[in-house]
Amino acid sequence: MAKKLIGDPIDRIDGDLKVTGRARYSADMKRPDMVYGVLVMSSIGNGRIRSFDTAETLKMPGVLTVMSYGNAPKVAGINKNKPSEVATDRVMSLFQDNKVHYNNQPIAMVIADTFEHAVDGAARVKVTYESQKPKPPLPAGRNNTFTPERLPRYDDQVDTKRGNLKAGLSGASTKVTETYTTPTQTHNALEPHALIAYWEGEKLTMYNATQGVSGVQKRISELFGMPKENVRVIAQFVGGGFGSKGATWSHVMLAPMAAKLVGKPVKLVLMREHMFGMVGWRSSTVQKMVVGTKKDGEFTALSHDTISQTSAFDEFAEPAGTISRMMYASPNMESTHRLIRANIGTPSAMRAPGEAPGVFALESVVDEVAYAINMDPIALRLKNYAETDPHKNLPFSSKSLRECYQQGAERFGWAKRTPEPRSMREGNELIGMGMASSIYPVNRAESTALVRIKPDGKVQVETGTQDIGTGTYTVMTQVAADVLGLSPDDVTLSAGDTRFPESTTSGGSRTTASTGSAVTQAAQAVLKQAKQLAYKDKRSPLFNVAEAEIVAENGRLQTKSDPRQGETFVSLLKRNGSKPLEAKMLSKSADEKDNYSLNAFGSIFAEVRIDEALGRIRVSRMIGTFAAGRILNAKTARSQILGGMIWGVSMALLEDTLIDPRTGRVMNPNLAEYHVPVNADIEEIDGFFIEEKDETVNPAGVKGIGEIGVVGSVSAIANAVYHATGKRIRDLPITLEKVLDYR
């Protein structure tokens, strides 16, 4: 058997289960006696519930009860249900009071024997309210902001200052000041949020669609005021998350509360329209950018001021300015983050939170500067290339952005572009070419993994991570196989369950860096044990051979100098009592973050074609080139990148959650009117990785790739639209009516 190497494009290990429909997602689980919950949502944007009339509902066959304020079980740890510094701990609506903070807030749950009975019952609950005028979301209220407590990532400052912005601007020959706005976006993972919760005495089990089984376990146990060990969370397969399944939202508490109330397992699957508000969304933003530059393109000043919105009862600030702080070597830089409060569900992290809207603004304004001083946009970026991180004042652990620009430009054929707007066309269509930089910080969190070499020479990896579609399950087997010199076929992974060692939430592109590092370290530790065993074993061909001299290859331990001197794990373990070897490792960042700035970089080139008469915009071609450390699986990695770039197309051209400012109600809470790309929206698209060896960044040598694809894509498309039409659209999404009046 040909050994599969790290980086090889091996098929997903869960591929067969997914293509045959045998993969069981949370809503596919069943329990004896299971009943169905359906939520009743508020229909006002602000106020209180005066009364529920549930008489008709309760008379219906199959309806067990209506859980709402009044009969909902009391939540022992309710004092923990408040704004927190943990970005995934959001304030939930748990029917403990009668307040309504936003339209489409869960206010009651009907529980019945069948789904149909529960839906019908929910439709018949009558609610009377005391209604107040809701506070509207952005752009209203942008002159009445406040400073947030914090940004979601604990080490990001809210406001920053470097040098002297005023002085920098007065030294500039050209100054560009523009405001960019982005809409509220809703994650809309295809799998609805879902869980099945049941109690066995004091023990709670939940099959839950989540990006973090451990995070949910912790949050739920603290809210119920019970030991963590009593809560088991299982997420075997997750149908996408994109941030929305990273936090523990109301329904994750409501289902076990209902299960307690009726004494039966409760299945709660959110309806698509319920997921516009109660499970987070990306805040809309208003971002003011100022750039001062010399004639030769050198930036003398840069500022980035962001306003985003939060709910009336919790606080989440979209960290849009963080990349502008460090992307370019401007000596003078200021950034601020402000919030407004509105009667909406609390915003949250959505794929590339902060980076996606923030880099749209940054890379758009840089393009505007390039036109203002008549300079090639790549040359301008190279002129201001940050050799070290100007914000943290640290060297980069590695940065191959120059190569990304260069290779991207070559692949795309940037040289063929004539810079003048409206200068390229074919038939009815104006052609535009745009580019932008992409970047995503490397995040890493504590994770634990156990690696066991079994007497049969096979390896078992246990870690409580989950695969949200990224390929985590597949690459974890590759990581262990790589360290132990085996084929991934010899590695079995146990994951998606809090029974296994605690691993991080899959968000912030951190799983491979975190859990991958834990698996690497545990595999290294168990390998060391095997080497030591051989060293001490008189009958081993490796008796008395120093550890450093032994390598693991092809399922064997052998000496570096002579591959024939050695033996298999099987024979070594057989002679030594046929007992497995195992090691469990907790992996966390050392001081790499104090000494280096850790980031993945990339470039995006996009071509758009716009029908001059109709304004129809197509992204006809898109090329992403990324440098993200070691790539563990070329196949799944490429899919991650392309998926991210498609999110870029989506954000640039399609997505917009329309909230009626008078009522706070979402006007398009469904997949027909909330637009995401379909197959025909995506034309030629490709993604490439530049080889980058970075041994500083973490033991696995990887940088996250889940989000970087989105980041630069939005502005590359916006810049291409400008090049095509001569019209700068600073308000996303770029829809045809916005480009139509370009003449």
Binding site: D490, L642, M645
Partner: protein, 210 residues
């Protein structure tokens, strides 16, 4: 829950184990020959007035007949998923907007969330579970999806594959643009579109009858 590169699925988790037992009993009970002429007789029951009466129906799904009692308002998708444990068809929207629930009815694609189960008698229903020729072999498009990574989270995948098979059978896989157009009733929020198109093209080029 365990995953291996052997593509073994080791059954674990209390719920799963319980349901396996339960569902094999279910299938034993229900795998009857189609009861032609008997279907659709409403059983006497004590449903209060104004509420839908249950009806006994027979559904032919994946070459098997299932006799069940359903309320007229139950959708085919809910019957498949909640009553028959055919959970391969997914519910992404319940409104005919996403394609995750795509099945074949008499050889044509349909959104199971938009169909009432009571109206599907005497039709041949194929779900993703019935696509492969045998339990240990995959349909060529299933193989191609894995090979070309036409999936990420996998939630849209059963629907994509059911649509993809229809696109191939109906002769709409003549060009990339045509495939993209005909596959646009199935949303993939993960953005696995290139892999999906590659997989369909590979099968089309392979020239095998699907």
């Amino acid at each position: 829950m365990e995953y291996t590169n052997h593509k073994n699925y080791i059954i674990d988790g209390a719920g799963r184990r319980w349901f396996l037992k339960q569902s094999s009993a279910l299938v034993g009970m229900l795998a009857l020959p189609p009861l032609i002429g008997q279907a659709g007789t409403a059983p006497a029951s004590s449903v209060p007035p104004g509420l839908p009466m249950k009806r006994a129906i027979t559904l032919r799904i994946n070459r098997k007949a299932y006799r069940i009692e359903v309320e007229p308002r139950e959708t085919l998708l809910d019957v498949l998923r909640e009553r028959l444990d055919l959970i391969g068809s997914k519910k992404g929207c319940d409104h005919g907007q996403c394609g995750a629930c795509t099945v074949h009815i008499d050889g044509r694609t349909a959104n199971a969330c938009l169909l009432l189960a009571v109206m599907q008698q005497d039709r041949d229903i194929t779900t993703i579970e019935g696509l492969a020729p045998s339990p240990d072999r995959l349909h060529p498009l299933q193989t191609a999806f894995v090979e070309h990574d036409g999936l990420q989270c996998g939630f849209c995948t059963p629907g994509q594959i059911m649509s993809g098979v229809a696109v191939l059978r109906e002769g709409h896989a003549g060009s990339t643009a045509q495939i993209k157009e005909w596959m646009s009733g199935n949303i993939c929020r993960c953005g696995a579109y290139s892999g999906i198109v590659d997989a369909i093209e590979a099968v089309q080029k392979g020239g095998r009858q699907v």
